[in-house]
Every structure is written in structure tokens, then in C-alpha cells.
């Protein structure tokens, strides 16, 4: 079947979602400006974020029903699902930690991915893609959720490093004022690391089940190797407890490596498509 039976409607929905994320970022920037950069408590923008997540989830669900499996068969679908999962994880972190100082950055990355999705959707040839069975759907979904966790951990790791540097050097600029604290960011990095370690474990486990009955050459692409490497690193990061500053430095450095790996995987998917497809 052709998973683009809605054609123009799909393009419109994907573009609208991009606009929605763009508006959320604008709202967040305006909130930051109004409060001179330090917003830690939830505000009205979070209601809009919940609405965006709900709509995006609805779109993915409808698409899932249309193609009969987890919608990752094409580039635009994979990018859009990843954008949703990153925005969702970022929201989960804000809701649990009550620290929304990093919301802007997580949403910005989700926006970039959704923008990529819109670009792929507009140039999508509408070719046939295979329908995924439930294990493949679980494998693809958990892998993307894992990559979302790695991205969020990476983004927070970068922010932790930058804030630490600005405190160390006594640079009291935008980041010093806007970000909450090293302690809070370190907790967020650890939480995102644990989430990604768990979900990547599910993805890797389901991959082992699939390896028995699939063409191995087709299944093990660059992104598989990169994802397994990230999984190994993040398993270790999740198991090491939060203790002193040096451990956090080490953790944030590796989460940054993981984030770079995600970017490489995304680059690979952009060119070659998702191996699950």
C-alpha cells in the first residue's frame, strides 16, 4: 500500500505541526524575555505544549492506523515521530522536575526535526513501503524513544557544561541567568540517560528476536551499529550513580557523544532511509 493516500492533507498537517512547534518556541522566547531569562515555574505555554503533543500524537496514531503499524516507513514519518518523542520527553522532564529552563532547547530540536519531516513530506514520492509486524513496530518505536532520550540527555549535557563553564569563569551572561542550576541539570541528564538506556534495551532485545528471521545485511545498517554503541554507553551511564562533579563531567561528556551519534544516525536516515522500512 501507499502510505500517502491522504497526499496534500498529509503535507498540510505536517506543516501545521511545524508551525505549532515554531509558535511554542516563540512563546518560550517571549516568556524568557519577559522574565529576564529565569523561568523555572510552569506557565501558560505548557498548556499549548500539551495541546501540541496531543495533536501530534493524534496525527501519528491516525497515520499508524493508515499504514497498519508504527509509522516509520518513510523519512518524514521517522523524523516526525522522533520530534514528537523528544517534545514528549522534554515535557515529562519539565513536569517531574518543575524546571522549565531547558524547555526552549528541547523544543528547538523537536522543531528542527519536524521541519525536516515537513521537507521530506513535501518531496515524498509516495512509494510502497512494507507493513511492519508488532515486534518490528516495537523495535522501531523503542529505538526512536531511545534516540529521543539520548538527544535530551545530550542537550542537557551541553547546557550543564556551558553553565558550569560560565560559573567557573564568572561569566554572568544569558545562560547564567536563564538556566536553573548545575544540580537540577545533572538530575535531568541522569533521568534522560536512564530512560534512553531502558528503551534502547527494549529495542536491542527486539532486534535480536528479529535477526533470526530477517535478512541480516538489510537489518544491520550504520544506524544499527551506532545505536547499539550508544546503548552500551548509556547502559553504563545509567548504572553509575550521581556522586561528585567529576562523575557528572564524565556523564555529560558521554551524553554529548551520544547526541553526536544521534545526529549522525539522523543524517544517515535522511540519505538512506530507516532500515526498519
Amino acid at each position: 500500500m501507499t502510505p500517502d493516500s491522504y497526499g496534500a492533507l498529509t503535507n498540510v498537517v505536517v506543516i501545521l505541526l511545524t508551525v505549532f512547534y515554531g509558535s511554542l518556541i516563540t512563546g518560550e522566547l517571549l516568556s524568557l524575555r519577559r522574565s529576564s531569562g529565569s523561568i523555572q515555574e510552569p506557565g501558560p505555554n505548557l498548556i499549548w505544549l500539551k495541546l501540541a503533543l496531543l495533536i501530534h500524537f493524534g496525527v501519528v496514531l491516525i497515520r499508524g492506523f493508515e499504514v497498519g503499524s508504527c509509522p516509520v516507513g518513510s523519512r518524514w514519518e521517522a523524523f516526525s515521530l522522533l520530534a514528537l518523542l523528544i517534545a514528549f520527553l522534554q515535557w515529562v522532564l519539565v513536569a517531574t522536575s518543575k524546571d522549565r529552563s531547558t524547555l526552549l532547547y528541547g523544543l528547538s530540536f523537536a522543531f528542527v526535526l519536524q521541519l525536516g519531516s515537513a521537507a521530506f513530506s513535501l518531496t515524498y514520492p509516495g512509494e510502497e513501503v512494507p507493513v511492519l509486524d508488532s515486534i518490528r513496530s516495537l523495535h522501531a518505536f523503542s529505538a526512536l524513544l531511545g534516540l529521543a532520550g539520548v538527544s535530551i540527555a545530550g542537550i542537557h549535557g551541553v547546557l550543564w557544561t556551558l553553565l558550569r563553564r560560565s560559573i567557573k569563569k564568572g561569566h554572568f551572561g544569558l545562560l547564567f541567568n536563564q538556566l536553573s542550576s548545575l544540580e537540577s541539570l545533572s538530575v535531568l541528564v541522569k533521568t534522560a540517560t536512564t530512560i534512553s538506556a531502558i528503551t534502547l534495551t527494549i529495542s536491542v532485545a527486539s532486534a535480536f528476536i528479529l535477526l533470526d528471521d530477517t535478512n541480516r545485511e538489510r537489518s544491520i545498517g550504520f544506524e544499527s551499529i551506532a545505536t547499539v554503541s550508544v546503548w552500551l554507553i548509556f547502559m553504563i551511564l545509567a548504572l553509575v550513580p550521581r556522586s561528585n562533579n567529576s562523575v557528572t563531567v564524565w556523564r555529560t561528556n558521554f551524553s554529548l557523544v551520544g547526541f553526536l551519534a544521534v545526529l549522525l544516525v539522523l543524517g544517515w536516515i535522511s540519505v538512506n532511509g530507516f532500515h526498519a522500512g
Binding site: R34, S35, S36, G37, S38, L163, I167, K168, G170, F172, F176, N177, L179, S180, S181, L182, E183, S184, S186, S243, N244, N245, S246, T248, V249
Partner: protein, 423 residues
């Protein structure tokens, strides 16, 4: 009604004069009661703090308002035994400026430390004296509400009140950036001199995980420890304090650094917690500058914190135009409310005149109507008048600030109504 005010504040008058004018709580109520009895002022608000004494009154008569304030000033001078200088003159300001004045004061724009939040509580409490004295009329009450709302808006929508403005608070701001909440932070203050005392005063009210004072002489530190509920120890406990503390603030007055790089490295090898923040407020410095090279240590000295304070001050200064915009907006809203209030008697009279005319005509037809029909017609007349007037009165209220000066008089003469008697 118009608002007039008398202002004696820190910008113009020295502390010697301000302290003579300042009112204690019970004096404020007595003064406002006297204002009501002797000057027939029914609406007044007195904001009296260490930096200002400002009296706001509401009156219909301009001449009476201004002369009352002048008399008040003379009474103050006589009773409190001081003489205000002729130049600069005491600030008696007119309606528009008075409204803006209270809004600016509450927003912290007129404070000595710009953006400080204490003034908002002081303005809030000032209304208690007004209500105790019975001078809390609707106009001054509305202005007071507007001022508090304005202050709240300025604080939430602009950075006017953000950031620490003292070196000691600056140290706590950096600590919060590292450790999050201060309730997770173990604090040690080394030294018991004036600087340490100031730091401990700033720490008061902040709940820390633990607080300890180390000093060469225990006798001197004992008093400070008791006052601030802190633990006490000698300088020999410093190596252990480096292991057990998250934030260590030091100011000993020693001529050589008290904390060396080796000492910190040794402590770090035994530490279990996160980073260590060392705040060196000593002059000469108490911490070897080489300590800053250690990754897990954040070292701040007086210059670093002064820069932080300067940045915060700049942020506050930059926020002034934005805060002033909010003040203008709120002042305009208050002016609109006051203008619309002026229209009420005329609108009531107009409505009454139309109703009377309608009901008079209905009365003429009464003998041809049954009781039920008459009641229905009466309701209809009122409904028609309401419908006719609703929109136009709403528009009048909304554009009350743009009405011509003699509009009300013309309205009254056109419909032969007497607003004064209605009122």
C-alpha cells in the same frame, strides 16, 4: 475626585530630616484620623518608611486639597521640630503625577535600591492605617489596588527586581546556581569579623542544610553562632570543613592565604558530594588563587561578586523603561475608571428622566388597560429604555477620557436633568 500628594523622600531629603518625619504605626492612624476630623479629608493613604513619607489624599476641591497638604506640612514642622529647606521645596504634586507617583513607588522605581520588593508590603500595610482611621474611600482604595497590581506586574513581567545587589547575596546567588536550593547546602563561614557578620545576616531566613562558624578566637565567634543558630569551631577545623561543606565563605583578615591548593586537593580526595564553592571575601585574599585551577572547585573573590552585582544592577536599570510603560498603562486605566465614575450620576439621571417620561405616558393610558397589561407595558418601557441606553452608556464610559469638557453640562441641559440632585 482628584488625588494630591505630599512627598518627602530619600532622593531630595537627608536622613536627618526623613527620620523626623517618619511615622510609627500607631502615629500613622492617629494622624489620618486627625486629617479626617480637622481637614475633612475622607480619602487618604500614608506610606511612611525609612526612605520616604508620602501622603496621598483624595478630594473634589483642588484648592482645599492643596491647602490641606500645605497645612499638614506646617503642622509636621511645628510638632516634629524641623524646618524643611526652601530649596528644594517639599514636593506637593498634582493629580496626574500623584497617581503615577504611588504606582512608581510601589513598583520599586523610586526606591533607593531600585526594584526592591519590601516597599510593596509597606504600601499594602499602609491601607490598614487608612481603614483604621476611616479614610479608605473608594477612590483611594482603587488607587491602592492599582498600585499593588502595578507592583506585581512590574515584578513578574520585567527583571526590575531580579538578581542580588550585595556581595553577600551575590555569593548565595552563585551557590543557588550550583546547588539548586540552599536547603541542600552545607555552609561554613570562616572568620567572625564585620564581613562575616554581614554574610550571616544575609543568610538569615535562608534555610541551609547546616551552618557552622570557624574562628581563631572562639569567644568572639560564640556570640555570632548563638545569634544565627550556627555550629562553632576553631580554625584548626578548616581542613575538615573543606570536606564537609558545599559553600565556604571566608574572611579572616590574615596577611597570607589561609587555604592553599594542596589543602583543597587533599580535601577533595575525601569529599563525597558535588562541587565546592569557595567565596573569598578577605582582603588580602584568604584563598590561594591557584585553587581556581581545580576542576571541582568554584572560587569567587570580592571582584567576581562585585561584577555579578554590577551585571544585576545593569539588568535592573535596563528594565526601567519597560517598568515605566506598565506604570503609564496602569495609571491610564485608573484615570479612565475615575472619569467613568464622573459620568455615573449623569447617566443615572438620564435613565431616570427617560423612565419618568415613558411611565408618565403609560399612566395616561392606564384606564384603557387591565392591570396585567399595564404591568407588561411597564416592563416593556423599561426594557426599551435599557436597550436604547445600554450601548451608548457603555461607549460613553469607555471613551470618558476623550469627552469634551462641557459634555456633561450639555447632556444635562439637553434632557433637562439635574445630576447634582440625583447624586
Amino acid at each position: 475626585m482628584k488625588i494630591y500628594s505630599l512627598t518627602v523622600c530619600h532622593k531630595v531629603f537627608p536622613i536627618e530630616l526623613r527620620e523626623k518625619i517618619a511615622f510609627k504605626s500607631e502615629e500613622a492612624t492617629a494622624f489620618l484620623s486627625e486629617l479626617k476630623d480637622k481637614h475633612s479629608i475622607d480619602e487618604a493613604l500614608l506610606v511612611s518608611t525609612c526612605n520616604r513619607t508620602e501622603l496621598f489624599i483624595g478630594t473634589d476641591n483642588v484648592h482645599k486639597g492643596l491647602s490641606s497638604l500645605e497645612e499638614v506640612l506646617q503642622i509636621w514642622e511645628r510638632e516634629r521640630n524641623f524646618k524643611l529647606p526652601i530649596c528644594p521645596p517639599p514636593n506637593i504634586v498634582d493629580h496626574h503625577k500623584s497617581v503615577e507617583r504611588l504606582l512608581r513607588v510601589t513598583a520599586g522605581l523610586e526606591s533607593q535600591i531600585i526594584g526592591e520588593s519590601e516597599i510593596q508590603g509597606q504600601v499594602r500595610n499602609a491601607m490598614n492605617h487608612s481603614s483604621d482611621a476611616g479614610v479608605n474611600g473608594p477612590v483611594i482604595l482603587k488607587l491602592w489596588e492599582k498600585a499593588l497590581r502595578c507592583g506585581k506586574r512590574v515584578r513578574s513581567e520585567t527583571p526590575l527586581g531580579d538578581g542580588a545587589l550585595s556581595v553577600a547575596y551575590g555569593a548565595l546567588e552563585v551557590a543557588k546556581k550550583i546547588f539548586g536550593e540552599l536547603s541542600n547546602v552545607r555552609v561554613t563561614v570562616v572568620g567572625a569579623g564585620e564581613v562575616s557578620e554581614l554574610v550571616l545576616q544575609n543568610l538569615q531566613g535562608q534555610s541551609t542544610k547546616s551552618l557552622k562558624i570557624l574562628n581563631r578566637s572562639l569567644e568572639r565567634a560564640e556570640h555570632l553562632a548563638k545569634t544565627h543558630g550556627a555550629g562553632l569551631g576553631g580554625l584548626d577545623e578548616l581542613p575538615q570543613a573543606l570536606i564537609d561543606s558545599d559553600l565556604l565563605i571566608i574572611s579572616t583578615g590574615a596577611s597570607e592565604p589561609v587555604i592553599s591548593k594542596e589543602m583543597v586537593l587533599k580535601a577533595l580526595s575525601k569529599r563525597k558530594g558535588g562541587g565546592l564553592l569557595l567565596v573569598d571575601l578577605g582582603l588580602p585574599r584568604d584563598v590561594d588563587p591557584a585553587v581556581d585551577k581545580i576542576g571541582d572547585v568554584f572560587l569567587y573573590n570580592l571582584d567576581d561578586l562585585a561584577r555579578l552585582v554590577e551585571e544585576n544592577l545593569k539588568t535592573r536599570r535596563d528594565a526601567i523603561p519597560e517598568a515605566e510603560e506598565i506604570v503609564h498603562h496602569e495609571a491610564k486605566q485608573f484615570a479612565n475608571w475615575l472619569d467613568s465614575r464622573r459620568l455615573d450620576p449623569a447617566i443615572r439621571s438620564l435613565r431616570g428622566a427617560l423612565e419618568n417620561a415613558g411611565l408618565y405616558e403609560l399612566q395616561q393610558m392606564k384606564r384603557n388597560l387591565s392591570t396585567e397589561e399595564y404591568e407588561r407595558m411597564e416592563k416593556l418601557v423599561r426594557k426599551v429604555i435599557n436597550r436604547l441606553l445600554h450601548r451608548s452608556t457603555q461607549e460613553l464610559r469607555e471613551s470618558s477620557d476623550q469627552l469634551e469638557k462641557n459634555f456633561l453640562a450639555r447632556l444635562e441641559s439637553l434632557f433637562h436633568i439635574d445630576a447634582e440632585s440625583e447624586e
